[in-house]
Amino acid sequence: MHGWTGTILKVDLTSGRIWREEIPEEFLHAYLGGRGLGVRLMRDYFRLDPFDPEMPLIFAVGPLCGTPAPTAARLAVVSRSPLTGTIYDCSAGGRFAWRLKAAGLDALFITGQSPTPVALAIDGDSAEFLPADTLWGMEVKESVHALAGHGSVATIGPAGENGVLFANIMMGEGNSVGRGGLGAVMGAKRLKAVTVDGAGSVSPADAERFEHARRDVMRLFRASPVIFGELGIAQFGTPALVDLMRQRRMAPTENFRKTVFPASGNYSGPAILRDYQAKNDGCFGCPIQCKKSTPQGEHLPEYETVSHFGALNGISSLAAIVKANTLCNDLGMDTITAAATLSAWGEIRGRFPSAEEVPALLRAAAGRCGAGELLSLGSRRLTEQLGRPDLSMSVKGLELPAYDPRGAYGMALAYCTSNRGGCHLRAYPISHEILRKPVPTDRFSFSGKARIIKIAEDTNAAVDSLVACKFSFFGATLEEYAELLSATTGTEFTPQTLKEIGERIYLTERWYNCENGFTTADDRLPERFYAEPGSSGEGIEVFPIDRARFEEELQKYYRIRGLTPEGTFSDPTYLERQP
């Protein structure tokens, strides 16, 4: 087999058993790897409570991992989210993915619960548990440091140990497995960390064809203003979006009461570069290097983080935002949900937290003490407990990131149809509604959006299964990635077949969610967006979203997906018929 190793490492923390199994080739062809493979492997487990010891935590790489395919040294972590209750996956870059592949593995499948804290150490063909009592309680940086020498590290911080519902799994190089609280799933297993090292390599089935496709991708990167343009993400990182969202009047401000924050210039891309002498940083093996860090190596925050600790909480100090980001990373906590939860709490209290208060609140959340007990639950549970459920700006309990849905109707729809809740990275319509890639669409129109969102969700499910970075697709397309994949594996894939695989993965996820009780009632934006306008001005009117038009497009989306008007499956055999 080329591209895949065909092997999965299974780990039962309860019994302490570790063993390798083969993955049938048909599975790999039908689900690729990463998100798709993980989702398939969840088939017998998706009904379990996320904290049930038998709930799997799956790390899966893709067929391109280990090759020089641009942005492909990534993995997906898949499980069920304690924050949203949905099936959940998250993609992260770094050497960890690359080394997991080099240890001969396509996936790691962890179930059970260890009686005492442990770390799992994988070294080539062998794997063992290391006692982790001394690591338990450590922050991420410390923990990574303590495990140096074992290859790459994926670890949780105090937030994951304490069951914070939006705890991340953090990769040693700073990449995070974020948003859905998979760090808490790992913590519930008393698994502090996984380390991996390996020496294997991946050779493409057709090296010449591979190299040709790789060059095609690089040429498209160079032709993309968003990637390698003078104002693009390679230059400024994702905070390049700060100025743009300000100008488009869709920067969520004060818990989405407004959509313009006058001080956002303080944390724009150019401001960060200037104030921190930011240098390029990024995922292992990625030519884009969109992440930025200080000369001392402190990771600087991404767009969603600066915007949510900034505008969403009315905080204008860049230093405070950078500090909040670093603290979240050290505690192992999702920045978007942390900031959004603070903001929802702030609106209820009638006062958003000041820059000075933030660090203590974040520590309290991670430790679940004082006000932190409530904050650790995320905005939906917090607002419910405080009697103001309307003030959680989330979909399916996942807090909306920094793109106001009143300013991009495709985004509004995409937040609702995303299987993991209010996330911008599934259909990612920002690409065409704001960044004009691959072609521009009218952001204030629902016309055609149902179909566009469906196609994009399928495409990105394939991308997340390859596993490549979404930012590649500001330049490249599935055409070039299908070539990379065909050249690597020796099996022919086309953009069309990849989209079909993506569709299967998306529908499988939706199936799991429906079985767990999700319906069209969960595919809704918070009331605010249908009732209140955004901040109009400078020739741009930001209206509330027309509910009837939204519903009409959502129903269209269901029809296009072959679902019932309730958003559920009319064919009870759908899942059985899938490979």
Binding site: D216, R219, L220, F221, R222, A223, S224, P225, V226, F228, G229, E230, L231, G232, F236, A240, L241, V242, D243, L244, R246, Q247, G265, S268, G269, P270, H432, I434, L435, R436, K437, P438, V439, P440, T441, S447, G448, A450, R451, I452, I455, A456, D458, T459, E479, A482, T494, P495, Q496, T497, K499, E500, E503, K556, R559, I560
Partner: protein, 387 residues
């Protein structure tokens, strides 16, 4: 979406890339919408039905070059491989189906090819192109294939001459019937210097429209900018030159704001040109004869293989310097600025033309017309020499 179908069918006629009465556009919302020639509509509908994308254009191109390329291709070939930059970068190759490969239901075969490429040539039928997200995208892909096959055919003719029965006559008809004289006559330009932002936006929009209306460039390939103090006003990426209203980004020279992240991929080239010359405005487009001529290199024994990006030489054609270089962050932004200041014009290998105006767009526009006219004349001279 119906309005989109009507709009882009109209554009295919206005830019004279498709034959009247031989156009179909299909789009999928929750139901299939289609309009145009009934037979092509049926075909487009059943192809689109098999694809996970939103729209499809199927039309017979207004010049028969794509069919000629297929007919001239060696028996075993199944794709056309144009050498122009736009195609290399965005289309790669263009698969084709021969007339005698078409079974009773060609839709399945076409869908299969479109499953991995943005456009295909079907002999005797035309160009069929898909759009993943919008009707516009299918139109762009059709235009790209039309442009690519046009350029490739002209290039091949210079090398190989006429080979098919009727080819020479058809080409003569193209020359006298389809091609129109290029001129800036009758166009009104503001004199400049342009200083008022509203005036700049209006002038850039107007000039963009001129370039397309006069048949100099296709609407999607090119960009325009105007400098005013420490701001560059530049057309956005993926904007059509004939519809620039609302699609012009103001970009500060010092990169103090990143709103211009949506600006054209050639922002870097424009910026360097402004920095190194006395240009007040820049016009860039892909006129077809200039693209063809820019690829004619008579150098013998040259060790460079990827001439389009690696050729280090400056060649002169009709007084215009020709350099190599890739789009965007590739070498174009480095190689064009040093050669453009004096002559006010430059060609890029396999790509197109940049021209500048020291005050307003009149100078840049005439320069673009002159370069393309010179290339046309020279092309036909060389073709005649070939015999």
């Amino acid at each position: 979406m119906r309005d989109q179908i009507v709009k882009y069918a109209g554009k295919l006629l206005a830019d004279r890339s498709a034959l009247e009465g031989r156009i179909a556009i299909a789009a999928k919302d929750d139901v299939l919408l289609a309009d145009g020639d009934p037979a092509l509509v049926r075909l487009a509908g059943s192809v689109l039905d098999r694809l996970n994308c939103l729209s499809l254009v199927a039309a017979s191109p207004a010049v028969p070059f794509a069919d000629f390329l297929v007919a001239r291709a060696p028996a075993g070939d199944c794709a056309i491989v144009p050498r122009d930059t736009e195609t290399r970068t965005f289309l790669h190759d263009i698969p084709f189906l021969r007339a005698n490969d078409l079974e009773a239901d060609p839709a399945a075969r076409i869908a299969q090819l479109l499953g991995s490429r943005k456009g295909v040539v079907v002999e005797g039928v035309g160009i069929i192109a898909s759009g993943a997200l919008t009707v516009e995208q299918a139109y762009i892909n059709y235009s790209s294939v039309f442009h690519a096959t046009f350029v490739k055919y002209l290039e091949d003719l210079l090398v190989e001459g006429f080979r098919l029965p009727g080819e020479k006559e058809a080409f003569a008809a193209f020359r006298t019937g389809w091609l129109r004289p290029l001129t800036a006559e009758g166009l009104v330009f503001r004199l400049g210097p342009l200083v008022d932002p509203d005036e700049i936006l209006d002038e850039v929009t107007t000039v963009g429209r001129y370039t397309v209306e006069r048949g100099l460039v296709d609407s999607f390939f090119g960009n325009i900018s105007c400098r005013c103090g420490d701001m560059i006003y530049i057309s956005q990426t993926a904007a059509s030159l004939d519809e620039l209203s609302g699609c012009i980004d103001p970009v500060p020279f010092g990169n103090t704001s990143t709103t211009g992240i949506t600006a054209s991929s050639e922002l870097a080239a424009h910026r360097r040109i402004f920095e190194t010359s006395d240009a007040a405005v820049i016009l860039h487009g892909h006129p077809k004869f200039a693209v063809v001529m820019s690829m004619l290199c008579e150098e013998e024994g040259c060790p460079v293989t990827d001439c389009w990006k690696d050729c280090p030489k400056v060649r002169i054609m009709g007084g215009t310097p020709v350099v190599a270089g890739e789009i965007g962050a590739g070498g174009l932004a480095k190689r064009v600025p040093p050669v453009i200041a004096g002559p006010g014009r430059a060609m890029v290998y396999g790509h197109g033309v940049f021209t500048i105006g020291r005050t307003g767009f009149a100078e840049a526009f005439s320069a673009l017309v002159e370069v393309e006219n010179w290339c046309r004349t020279e092309y036909f001279r060389r073709l005649a020499l070939r015999g």
